[in-house]
Every structure is written in structure tokens, then in C-alpha cells.
Amino acid sequence: MEEKVESIKVELIKDLSNTKSIQDVQNLKVKYLGKKGLVTELTANMKDLSIDEKKIVGKLSNETKNYVTEEISKLENKIETEELNKKLQSEKIDISLPSTKVNVGGSNILEKIIEEVEELAISMGYDVVEGPEVEKDLYNFELLNLPKGHPARDAQDTFYTDGDTLLLRSQTSPVQIRTMLENKDKTPIRIICPGKTYRRDDDDATHSHQFTQIEGLLVDKDISLANLKATFDVIAKKLFGSDRETRFRPSFYPFTEPSVEMDISCFNCGGKGCNICKGTGWITVGGAGIVHHNVLDNCGYDSNKWTGFAFGFGAERLAMLKYGITDIRTFYTNDLRIKDNFDRKDV
């Protein structure tokens, strides 16, 4: 018996060393462990043995079976791994070939900058409100302290659609008027109103008959220019970098008094003077002021009790400055090739 086992082992070692493929392994399994396999045959005449003999033979054959199974299995794993590696090698690809494009859409540049301002404003407690683009002369001009024949209307040559009562709004300020009028309880107001605006301008690199404003309005008690300046600081630093300085210059808008131009220190030269700031070190980015008493009174807010500030930016101007765009028509031609540049997180 032991001799038999020994000869099986010897033969197995020989067989194993000659086995090269998974098919050979299968044959090996049949030869040793099959129904008529060498190991199986060790127990072929078990029924003729005594109980003690059975024990010995049983134990021995079991050990042999385990041994053979393990050895074959070891080899099998080895061959399988080899074959897999061979297969994987044959599957090697050229990783330098171009990718399959996964398309995600991009936003319009203007929308990007508007949302930046909106999100900032929301974080400061402002609501984002929109209004109609075909607007009443009453809201676009008259209640904003711009009566008919007011010379300041010249600066905003307007598209009328119906006599002199209905027009394509020339500014987003009528949204402020609507908000104040519609607030029947006359409670404090904090809004920003982004939107499309229209003026009779011939389109060229710096003029557009359609453009976009972002206006803000805050109505409360004892509001000052210093409050406006602080608010502007926050916006300027968010859009143009935390090291921006700001300044106010006196200006004129019919619906604010005092009115100011809002300047930032030049982000290009830091204030030394360059092409972008035309040598002044400062760049004007918007207009603002303390809400005119006539506007408050026109909208049912008693100007003896309420004060407020309003500010406005041209979204195109902000974007042109921020991204170095030189032609305002860029925003309206929608050249999809631009997207490669813009479809990513900004600094």
C-alpha cells in the first residue's frame, strides 16, 4: 500500500512537471482523481479489508488524495495566472489615443457672472427679483424721478413700442419701483435685480443695443453712503480679488442723491497706472447712491422715515473687465469654442 502511494507520488511529480496547460491539468485530474484514477483505485478493494486495515488504508488514501488535489490545484492556479497574464498582455491598449468626449453643457459668460453676484447677494440677505422687459414709461422713468422731457432721458435713448407709455426697459431700476410699490406693508427691502436692458445704440465692440444690468436696492432706516461703501467693498473683493481697494466719486443719477461712481483699484497694475485703467490706477465698475427722496415718496415709502441705497453694475462690463474680453458682441454670438476656456472652476 505504502509503496503504491509512493509510486503515485513519484509519477505525479513527473506528470506535474510535464503539465503546461489547463487542458493538461484536467487530464491529470482524471488520471489521479477520476472514477478510475490512481488515487481512487487505492480504495478500490476496501470492502474486503478488516476494520483496522480499513482505518489505515482509509487514512493513507485520504492523505494521498489531499496531497494530490493540493499539488494539482497549486499547478492549476499557477497555469491559470500565467494564462491570464498572457491574455492581459495581449489586451494592452494605446492609452495615448483621444478620449470619448463626455459632454456637459456650459453657461453663458454673463450668466456665470450674474450668478456669482447673485450668490454673494443672497448670502448678504438680498432676494433676487426679476421683472418684465417690456415696461411702462411710468416705472422705467417717471417714478424714478425722470419726468417726461427730463434731459437725463437723453442718455438713455429708448425703444418705445406703444406711443410714449410702453417701452423696452432701458434699465433694471423699474424692478425696484415694482418691488417697493408691491410691498404693501412697507417693510425693509433688500433686493438685487439682474436682467436684460435695451437702448438705441448701434452695435459695435463697446456698444450693444441689448445689455445686462445687475441692480441692488436696500431700503431701511438711517442708511448711509458708508453702508453702501462697505457693501460695494464686499462685492468688489469677491469679483476682482481680496486685495482690491475701492473709492467713490461724485456722480449723477436722477434716482439717487448723493450719487457716486464706484471705482476699484486696478487689478492689472495694482494702482500704478496701466492701459486697462488708462493710467489712473482706478477702474469704474458701477454707479450707486442714496435713494432719492422723490423715488421713496413715489413708491409709498415716506422719505422722512425711510432711507436706502441703490447700486448698479453692467454685467457685460464686469465680465469684460474680469475676463479681459474686448468686444461686447462676444456675449451674444455664442461661439461654442469659447467654452473650452470657461467651463471650469475659477480661482
Binding site: 470619448t100 453657461s107 440677505g125 417690456v134 457693501t231 467713490f248 461724485p250 442723491e257 461661439d335 461654442l336
Partner: protein, 791 residues
């Protein structure tokens, strides 16, 4: 507006003032000095022609000129150059107007070391044929050889080019008004010019009567000057007019313009002898007309104010004079008008006639009656002095001006609260004094009188605060955030909804566009779907921007063409914008255009070309995302501009919200797919809240089947039948094959479905599924005349 600082010096002491620094100070106080320019004519000297010889066979002359430092040869082409005269010489290095640089050169073989100049070549006269014929400028004999010409001629001026805001367009468009601003900034006083005259005994009242028959003329002054001699203006007037951008003509016309630039009051001079002895100011009649100074006939309307001689118009008030009373070279006697007309009428008339001028703009913006009265005296003073005129005594005056003095109160506290500053009483006092605003003060309350010249300052504390603040300096304001309660900000109304849609569409690979609201008729009518009455502009700038669009798709098609022309192959775009359908309502529309490969790889065969089913997938994805699953469907419908066989109306809750399809090949041959829906139709619809739904733990059973049906029967109809017959346990239906061709008759098609049955509470038995399955087959066969296809 160009301001001559030499002129300003007449009214404000500017000795030892750096004009560049002053410009910055003025700008910082709110009046924008956009440019500061010097009259930078360098290398111009006075020369004396010592010798002058003709150069044979040319019009040229060879001259020897003494320029002080040396004697040099200069070739000159002017026919009035001659020995012994004093001339203006530009030496090499001089840059004349237009950037023309003088260099030493050789002309026809003769050396030329400079140029003898005409006034037009120096920009001091207009370059007209007449001025050209005058030749070079001959200076008086006493001119000193070698002296700087700019100094000699009083041209050493500094010009401020102002970019004025509409409020300061009134007082800073004249030199006196601007001088007050200069004085405010410097803390100095203004000295007004001499307006005295030596009137003769004869009174205008003997020669003239005035009647004003319209409330649109509130002030009318008339004075008479006789015996004027028309000639050239004195140099200082010419130089100042040129500096301010006006062309000198003759002494009388120049004086009228000079006074306008000085006081801001436009004047009109009539030839008294042509005018007659009466003036009637009235509104024009409907059938009236006048030939104006530019020799054009102008039809008049009842909105126009006219000056008449009692019968016929002689001047359109504030706009332009009539040819019939024009001052010409033979004029001897002048009637001067200095008046205030209703700004609205002047604006209306000048706009209608396209005759807006320096004068009409000043009437439009408003005039200070004090200056109206002073200007006429000033004109008389100048005519007396520079046109040999004799001024008749008395002024004919019509005056209904409200002369109420503008007074307002402001407290120190008001000032500091509004500006966010801590000014002292003395600071406010200083600002008011510098502004030239008279005031009294008691217990920190200032009662301020606003001078008439500041038409823009209303008697209200806010106006005073602005004036005080701008002079004090906004640079002194320190930022302080408003002391108001914190609150959460929100998107109001449909804004957030629109942004949600926008984000979803971007995540689906579509690029956001922004196109123009104004389009052409043709574009607006391209897709004639639910059109409303068109809203046109009253005065469009061009035919391609004349109407307010009711559909965004034509603009997206334009964007498509633009990108295609630039070799962009795969174009997936959308825009959400307001469109208009009547006076009060705006409709927010969502438009999508898709063309090309939705997904692709340039070198392998992977691609997903956009077709109807892909854009339909985008639509469904969006509507499902918005919570409308199972509430919408497409209904085949022909729509203008859309391929009739690939076109559908989109229904939500059985109401149409828009359309989808392939653009009609007559519009573009490319297979471009579009859809447009109206956000107004659904943004406020109620949707179900999100609830967690248990995924069935029990296995589902999938069964496939295929039917042959008539090709006009839609899959949708079959699916409806299957769904109805399948009941609750049929949880999903998928189309996995559509086949026409071999083994199927030409008018038939085969559609294969994969049906999933499941129950969240138990395992289904084969028998019950088979029972439903057979019922489905039976129903489809019966209802659609379908034949079950063998496997």
C-alpha cells in the same frame, strides 16, 4: 464741452495754480475733466523775410528768413510771400495739427529749413478754399523776430474737455458757471465780466413793440444796437471760440456765440431793418412754414414756438433763425433777443427738425434768468466795443418768471447720517461758503439759499448733503456695513425654477446661449406656433431688429449657423428667455436646438447621433426631473417650420405647452432638431412630494413578445393597450426592436417588447404571469389587428 482756462482766468484768480492738479480736484468733486490739453504748438517762431526770389518755372520762392537765432533758407509756395514781411515759421521738429512734422528737406534741389505757415495750417482757421487763397499769415510789423508764436498770439491755453453728467450740463456748459465750480474747489471768488454800456439817448421803445402770446415763453428781453460794422473779431474772441470748439465767422456772429459760451444764454440777432418794428412770440399755426438760415423750408406745427414780425415767422424759437431776418455783411442795425422758452417745446421741435445745436441744447436743459438778463447787456457791451455799435437805451422785457428763492434746511446730523461721516460744523460751513451758497446757522441747523445758477439743486436737504459731501470728499468715507438684522436671501418667483431648468439642461450636455430679443419679421414668423399679435418697435434701428420676438428658436438657428461656419460640429444649445405676446404678459420660453453627435469618439466607432428620439429623451428627462412623470405626451402634429413627418406637439396634463421636431428642410438641409416649450404653462403646477419607495425584494419575471402590425399604428397605441391589459403587476414595458423589411409586408412592421412583471409583496407564480401575458396578446391582437410573431 471744452473749456478754455485762459478764459476762466478772467473770472477766477488762477495764478500759481497747477492746472493739471486742478483738473483732478475738480473731477474728484464731481465734474469730470476728461482730458487736459495744452495748445502744444512747439517750435513756432516769428521770422522776417530778408530776401525772396522766385524759383524759375515753379510757383515757389526761395526765401532767406531771420528767425532770431539764425538766418536760414526756406522754400515757400505762397503767392503773398515777399521781402520784408514778418511771418510765422515752423522750425524743424514742429508738429502741426494732424501730426504733420516739419523736417529740414530739399525741394526742387533747394534746401528748405522750415516752413512759413498759413493760419489754416496751424489749425487756427478753417481749411477752406478762401482761407487757402489768403496764403501765409502776415504778422504786424512790430512783431518781434524770434519770439514764440504761441505766446505772441495768446494761444498758450490749457483746454479742459469736460464729460458732464446731465445735472451739471446746465451750469458747467458755460465759462462763468464752470468758473464757480473752479472757485468752489479752490475756495476762491468769481468776478463777473463787464456788462456796462454807454447807451445813446434814443430808446428802443420808440422803435419797437413786443407781444408774447404763449405761456411757453416765460422771459423775453430785446435790445437794439445800431450802426454795427461787420468785420473780423479781435484775436481773444477768435482764440477762445476756437478753444471751445467753435469756428470764428465775424465779429457780430462771434459775439453772439462768445456770450453763449460765457453765460450759457443763447442769443439771437435779427437784422432790425429786415424785421420791422414788431415782435410777436406765439405758437406756430398748422399751415405755417419758414425758410431757416440753412436755406431749407421748414414746415411748422402747433408745438413749435415761433418769433414772428406780427404776421410771418422770422425765427423758430430756440432752434434756428429765419433767412428773412438774417444778419449779413450789410447789416447795420441789430435787434438782440435773450429769452427763455419752454424746454419741452424746444426739444420736441429741434428733434423733429433734426436741428439740435449748442443753442437748442441749452434751452432744453434750462436757463438761469439772471444770466438771461446779464447776457444781453454783455452782448451790447461787446458790440459797442468790437463792432462800433451804438446801444439804444432801455430794454424791452416780457417777464413771467417765478423768482421764488430756493431755500432749504439741513442739519449737521442730516449730513453725517446720510454720508456716514463725522463732519464738524466748521466743515459744513466751509463747503457751503466755497460753493457760494449763502446760509444762516443756528444750533447746527443750516438754512441755505441756493443760487439761481444751480438749476440742478432742488431746495431739499438731500440736494444740500450731496453738494456739501462732494466738496468735502467721499474719499473720507470709511466703510461700515448696514446695521440691519440678518435674514436669508432667496430667489423670488420663477427665477429659481428657471435656474433649476438651466442647470439640468447643462448637465444634459446643452450649452446656454444668450441672443437678442429684437428680431426681424421673417425670424419672428419662422415657426408659426401659437402666434400672438406682433409687438413692433415704433422706431426700429434696422429691419433685422424691429420686432420683439415670440420665439427663441430662430435666434438659436442663427447661433447654429454661426458655429457651423466656424467648424463646430456638434452643436447642443439652449436658451431660456422672455418672449412677448401682449402688452402685459411675458412668456418665458425654453428653446433647445441639437445637431451632430451627442456622444462621440473621433477615432473609434462610438457615437450617438442626435435624432428625434434623442431630443425627445432630453425633453422627457427634463419633464421627469420637474416632477411631471406620466403627465405628458407627444401628439403628432404639423407645425410651420418643422418637418411634417417628424413633428409633434407636447402636451402636459393634456394641455399643449410647445412643440418638438426636426427643422423643415426648406429652412436648413441639416438634420437639426429643436423643441420649444413655454415655462409659464407649468412652472406653478403642483407636483407630488418625493417619497421613498421600497424596491421589491421579490424576483421579477421578464417576458418578451413581438407583434406584426400595420405601420400606421404607433407603438404608443400598442403600449397603451398592453398597459391596460397588464394591470398592476406589469411594472415595465420596453421596446427592444422595431423591424421592417424581409419577412414583413411593406405596409407592416414588427415591434418587440420586453415586459416585466413584479409584485412588491410576494413572488409571482408562472401561472398567473402567463395568464396576464396571454390576455395582453389577446387584447393587442384584437384591438390592433396584430399578429403575434413566432420566436
Amino acid at each position: 464741452m471744452a473749456i478754455s482756462m485762459n478764459w476762466v482766468k478772467e473770472y477766477v484768480d488762477l495764478d500759481d495754480v497747477d492746472l493739471k492738479e486742478l483738473a483732478t480736484k475738480i473731477t474728484n468733486a464731481g465734474v469730470n475733466v476728461e482730458h487736459v490739453t495744452q495748445n502744444n504748438l512747439n517750435n513756432l517762431v516769428i521770422g522776417e523775410v530778408l530776401e525772396c526770389e522766385d524759383i524759375p518755372e515753379t510757383h515757389l520762392h526761395k526765401c532767406l528768413v531771420d528767425v532770431g537765432t539764425d538766418k536760414r533758407q526756406i522754400v515757400c509756395g505762397a503767392n503773398n510771400v515777399t521781402k520784408g514781411i514778418k511771418v510765422i515759421v515752423s522750425l524743424p521738429g514742429a508738429i502741426l495739427p494732424g501730426g504733420f512734422e516739419i523736417k529740414a528737406s530739399t525741394i526742387r534741389g533747394y534746401e528748405s529749413n522750415g516752413m512759413i505757415c498759413a493760419l489754416s495750417e496751424l489749425g487756427l482757421e478753417e481749411d477752406t478754399p478762401e482761407n487757402h487763397a489768403k496764403g501765409i499769415c502776415v504778422l504786424p510789423e512790430n512783431a518781434k523776430v524770434g519770439e514764440d508764436v504761441v505766446k505772441y498770439m495768446g494761444l498758450d491755453d490749457t483746454i479742459y474737455e469736460l464729460d458732464l453728467n446731465p445735472n451739471r450740463n446746465i451750469d458747467c456748459t458755460n465759462h462763468i458757471g464752470f468758473s464757480y465750480e473752479v472757485a468752489s474747489v479752490l475756495g476762491k471768488k468769481v468776478t463777473l465780466p463787464d456788462i456796462s454800456t454807454k447807451p445813446i439817448k434814443d430808446s428802443i421803445k420808440k422803435h419797437f413793440s413786443l407781444e408774447v402770446a404763449t405761456p411757453n415763453c416765460t422771459l423775453y428781453n430785446a435790445k437794439m444796437v445800431i450802426g454795427v460794422k461787420i468785420k473780423e473779431s479781435p484775436d481773444f474772441i477768435k482764440h477762445r471760440l476756437i478753444a471751445a470748439g467753435m469756428r470764428p465767422i465775424n465779429n457780430v456772429v462771434d459775439i453772439s456765440n462768445y456770450v453763449m459760451l460765457e453765460f450759457g444764454q443763447p442769443l439771437h440777432f435779427f437784422d432790425k431793418d429786415k424785421l420791422g418794428d414788431k415782435i410777436l412770440v406765439r405758437m406756430a399755426g398748422d399751415n405755417e412754414g419758414i425758410v431757416t438760415l440753412d436755406k431749407k423750408y421748414r414746415e411748422l406745427f402747433s408745438e413749435d414756438i415761433v418769433i414772428t414780425d406780427g404776421e410771418k415767422p422770422v425765427c423758430i424759437a430756440g432752434v434756428m433763425g429765419g433767412e428773412n431776418t438774417e444778419v449779413d455783411e450789410n447789416t447795420k442795425n441789430i435787434l438782440i433777443e435773450s429769452a427763455i422758452f419752454n424746454s419741452y417745446n424746444v426739444r420736441y421741435t429741434s428733434l423733429r427738425l433734426d436741428l439740435r445745436s449748442e443753442a437748442s441744447l441749452r434751452y432744453e436743459r434750462g436757463l438761469n434768468w439772471e444770466y438771461t438778463n446779464m447776457a444781453i447787456e454783455r452782448a451790447c457791451h461787446l458790440l459797442e466795443k468790437y463792432a462800433d455799435g451804438k446801444v439804444l437805451s432801455d430794454t424791452i422785457v416780457y417777464d413771467t418768471i417765478d423768482k421764488t428763492v430756493k431755500i432749504a434746511d439741513v442739519t449737521l446730523d442730516d449730513v453725517n447720517t446720510t454720508l456716514g461721516l463725522s463732519m464738524k460744523k466748521s466743515d459744513v460751513e466751509k463747503s457751503l461758503t466755497n460753493l457760494g451758497f449763502e446760509y444762516t446757522e443756528s444750533k447746527n441747523k443750516f438754512t441755505v439759499t441756493i443760487p439761481n445758477r444751480r438749476l440742478d439743486v432742488e431746495p431739499h436737504k438731500q440736494d444740500l448733503i450731496e453738494e456739501i459731501g462732494r466738496l468735502y470728499g467721499y474719499d473720507k468715507i470709511e466703510s461700515v456695513l448696514p446695521n440691519i438684522p440678518d435674514k436669508a436671501g432667496n430667489y423670488i418667483g420663477a427665477v429659481a425654477y428657471r435656474k433649476l431648468i438651466s442647470k439640468r439642461l447643462r448637465s444634459l450636455g446643452l450649452n446656454e446661449c444668450r441672443t437678442y430679443t429684437l428680431v426681424s419679421d421673417e425670424e419672428n414668423n419662422l415657426f408659426n406656433y401659437n402666434k400672438h399679435e406682433q409687438i413692433d418697435l415704433l422706431r426700429p434701428m434696422s429691419s433685422d431688429k424691429k420686432t420683439i420676438r415670440q420665439t427663441i428658436l430662430p435666434s438659436l438657428l442663427k447661433t447654429y449657423e454661426y458655429n457651423k461656419a466656424r467648424n463646430v460640429k456638434d452643436i447642443m444649445i439652449y436658451e431660456i428667455a422672455n418672449t412677448y405676446f401682449n402688452k402685459d404678459e411675458e412668456e418665458t420660453k425654453i428653446a433647445i436646438l441639437m445637431k451632430g453627435d451627442y456622444l462621440n469618439n473621433s477615432w473609434s466607432s462610438i457615437s450617438s447621433k442626435v435624432d428625434f428620439y434623442l431630443i425627445k429623451g432630453i425633453l422627457e428627462n427634463l419633464l421627469d426631473y420637474l416632477g411631471f412623470r406620466n403627465r405628458y405626451q407627444l401628439e403628432a402634429k404639423e407645425i410651420d417650420g418643422i418637418h411634417p413627418g417628424i413633428s409633434a406637439e407636447i402636451l402636459l396634463d393634456r394641455e399643449p405647452i410647445g412643440f418638438i421636431g426636426r427643422v423643415h428642410p426648406t429652412i436648413t438641409k441639416d438634420d437639426v432638431y429643436v423643441l420649444e416649450i413655454s415655462m409659464n404653462k407649468f412652472y406653478d403646477k403642483k407636483i407630488k412630494p418625493i417619497k421613498f419607495k421600497e424596491i421589491s425584494k421579490y424576483p421579477s419575471i421578464v417576458k418578451d413578445l413581438a407583434f406584426i402590425i400595420n405601420k400606421d399604428i404607433t407603438s404608443g397605441e400598442v403600449v397603451d393597450t398592453i398597459r391596460k391589459a397588464g394591470g398592476k403587476l406589469l411594472t415595465n414595458i420596453e421596446v427592444f426592436d422595431v423591424y421592417t423589411g424581409e419577412n414583413v409586408k411593406p405596409d407592416e412592421k414588427s415591434i418587440a417588447y420586453s415586459l416585466t412583471f413584479s409584485d412588491p409583496t410576494r413572488t409571482l407564480s408562472d401561472e398567473e404571469v402567463m395568464q396576464i401575458f396571454n390576455k395582453i396578446i389577446e387584447e393587442v391582437e384584437k384591438k390592433h389587428n396584430a399578429i403575434l410573431r413566432d420566436k
